[in-house]
Symmetry: C2
Subunit: 478 residues, 2 copies
């Protein structure tokens, strides 16, 4: 099984034979939203990262906001109410501050849902299937289906040929897509690149599926020359593929067309494979980028998922999952109590999320998203160029707004800007709310800090292994 | 496998041998939030319910709120904004109406989170572990851990001995609890009563676990005289048990102590079984009911889950999951990137839900919940008594506020009051927002309508099989 050195020095399963992921629930693959290991002040890594394991829990525990029993006369004095209002006001201030300095996670923090605040005091639950009304009347299916139709059009599938629902997050989309794949091919083997979201490997463990990890190129894209022998070694079993429409760390887009061609060339007919496209962030950006491999149900794919709180922006995590009706029909064919169709993972579902999505999609429309995407790509190029100008190693994939660069040496700086880090690299995801001004502010601070980190013999790290020699400007490569 | 007649005429797996749930993702067990099969006007059931299968989807599809592309001059004219405001205003009106008439689902619709509306425009995401801070700064872990501590105290487990998180719904709690059980006992067999929430059987399928269904008493409680031989038939494998702290349809509370005793008497030592308590609704009510079997981590249980949107009340579904730290430590021991600890199912998690729960728990406190529970039980008794007085078959379990009664004949009436139905029975779940006035209004309407449904030779159905002869007042049993 994958060990601690898995990512930095990949040791692929040489013979390409499938292995069942056993033992742990935890991801062994690249983390989506990784927490940086603590880098001590003196810059020396701890010998064993394991020592941090569970201890951190205590820290948050000791600073949490304890719930206290109301006093008998609280209603009269209003003390409790006042104390809570104080806590909330301070918290709001803190959120504003944290929102202002955020750069690392792919969340569009620029939204205004004031028009929807009138709905906050309803308990809206779209329980079960979006298309079949439940008896619980306080739902928002009419909005949910409107949103699903919009995405179905985006990904080119007819209204009567798709099924889908609004999920709680990108992970639920991946869990669902891979589950549908497994139900279609119970003995199928899951193939996913090493840089796939960790929920993909979590799914393999949860579902007790055989899983084959595929190598990646420096860009982060799946390496089809590694996929090929692994497919050929397992030709006796159907293939379930996770294709990344934007990897978490590098924003790399797997080439769907090359993946399909590789499957075909290895002798997998269309009824012997299932492709789930994990479009967490870029699933909503790619359609507006020229030259991007198109995600379309006109191709032999089984499902697509995308997050709603990322590019669209939403107060809480949510996502959209679209699959083919025929797959859901297969799943549903033997249900005894037919009004009970529930092919979702969660059953009870947040009815506010569809309202947020419906509101933004309606206001912005395709054209609005196109504009947002163009702005993000432009600003991301600006950031990468400025980093290079400042002598900082950085990479930006062509179809991406994720700028990967040398990990800042100071953990305080990392936390202040809420950067997601992994090993020697960090990234900024340029979202619609990230302006040139914000990037300049960040860049100036980084350059200034950096001049204090790297003095005398202390050199910036070489990150050629992570982002390629061409992008690295370390002492050796510049 | 369970067939269409599963519930009305249970055909238990005679020899008690475990069977792997194969094939469908769909629940074969009793539905939590069941949709009533369509009862045609003439009262004759369709021969095959299957015909309704996927067709219903089209209906919602045709009435959904389509998203349209903004016109070029929309920003000038304000037409789009106005049109959307109109849609939302109508929707709000509809929600108010539906909320007013709701009786069937266990959701407390009585809450006022006005103080929290100032936080709606932040993208709050508690990604990963609640106790380990992520670099994403816009989170609400300090509130989440406060809520978890409150529940840990309620269920009698020390702060440094538990792990937990706030879930998206009761289903996620069950999925998590059963997954932890499976990871602790990879070859364990899952035992659950037939009246368990369908997510329990969904979990068995997802996780490819062997699953044994156990019969229930008329009350809906697990029948330990059926559990015993099934345990004895599978003594070679560890047991993972789902114990219902309030079943979905009848609100029946499995007797945790008797279940544990049965396990012990069958020779299962404490290191050979794992108990997950599904406390969706009643998990938060039982602690305040005298004579109720106590849910406590002082007993050999592994996890407890409860819904947040049910008894507490919340705009969107959520829940609380508490398990033992030792189990999570087992799961986490082999993680390579230790900052990456994520033992949740979802990864990205709604950061608003903890705020809602924190707010209500703080305001109400234990005493407030006690008062709410007493009110609900009292009102539930009132409803049951009035139903009996009116000559309507009805049942109320001692520890429950779920009143089960004869299914109304008119589907229009069922929908109006949003009753959850199953076969010949329906139920009303008396929640804190359900007043005597509302119950009287409902009762009067039911009695009036009923006088038109049952005239001449048309008799109310006998529901003795579902609720027992003592509670049935049909022509035969009254």
């Amino acid at each position: 099984m994958a060990g601690g050195a898995d990512i930095k020095a990949p040791s692929p399963n040489e013979n390409g034979k499938a292995e069942i992921l056993k033992g742990n629930l935890e991801p062994t693959a690249i983390e989506v939203e990784p927490l940086p290991p603590v880098v001590p002040e003196n810059g020396v890594e701890k010998p064993s990262e394991k020592s941090r394991n569970i201890v951190l829990g205590r820290n948050v525990h000791s600073t949490c906001l304890t719930i206290t029993e109301p006093e008998v006369n609280d209603e009269v004095t209003g003390d409790k109410e006042a104390q809570m209002a104080g806590v909330l006001a301070r918290y709001r201030k803190n959120l504003m501050e944290r929102t202002k300095y955020h750069l690392g996670y792919p969340y569009n923090l620029d939204f205004d849902y004031g028009a929807l605040s009138q709905l906050q005091h309803f308990s809206i639950n779209n329980l079960g299937d979006p298309f079949i009304e439940s008896n619980y009347g306080v739902h928002s299916r009419q909005f949910e289906v409107g949103v699903l139709d919009w995405f179905a059009r985006l990904w080119e599938i007819e209204k009567d040929e798709y099924w889908g629902y609004i999920t709680n997050c990108g992970t639920e989309g991946n869990l669902h897509g891979i589950l549908v794949g497994r139900e279609v091919f119970p003995d199928g083997i899951l193939y996913a690149s090493r840089e796939s979201h960790y929920s993909v490997f979590k799914a393999a463990r949860m579902y007790r599926m055989e899983c084959v990890k595929v190598d990646t190129l420096v860009s982060g894209e799946i390496d089809c020359s590694d996929l090929r022998p692994k497919l050929l070694a397992n030709k006796d079993k159907p293939a379930i593929l996770n294709v990344n429409i934007g990897t978490t760390v590098k924003g790399a887009v797997d080439d769907l067309d090359v993946v399909i061609r590789t499957l075909e060339e290895c002798g997998f007919s269309h009824d012997r494979f299932y492709i789930h496209c994990d479009g967490a962030l870029f699933g909503l950006m790619m359609p507006f980028v020229k030259r991007a491999p198109k995600v379309s149900f006109k191709k032999p794919i089984g499902s697509v998922s995308v997050s709603g709180h990322k590019f669209v922006g939403c107060p809480m995590p949510c996502g959209v999952q679209i699959t083919r009706m025929e797959h859901i029909n297969v799943l549903s064919s033997n249900v005894e109590y037919l009004a009970s169709r529930d092919a979702t993972i969660m059953g009870s579902r947040n009815g506010h999320a569809p309202l947020f999505l419906w509101y933004t999609l309606n206001r912005k429309g395709y054209k609005g998203f196109q504009k947002d995407v163009q702005k993000c790509l432009r600003n991301a190029h600006y950031l990468k160029d400025r980093l290079h100008e400042a002598g900082i190693s950085a990479m930006l994939n062509e179809l991406s707004s994720t700028v990967v660069f040398e990990r800042p040496r100071d953990e305080e700086f990392v936390r202040r800007w809420q950067l997601a880090c992994e090993g020697n690299i960090a990234h900024v995801v340029v979202m619609p709310n990230v302006t040139i001004e914000k990037l300049d502010f960040f860049l100036n601070e980084l350059v200034e800090k950096r001049s204090t980190w790297y003095q005398g013999n202390v050199q910036p790290p070489c990150i050629a292994a992570e982002i390629g020699k061409a992008n690295c400007v370390c002492a050796l490569h510049k």
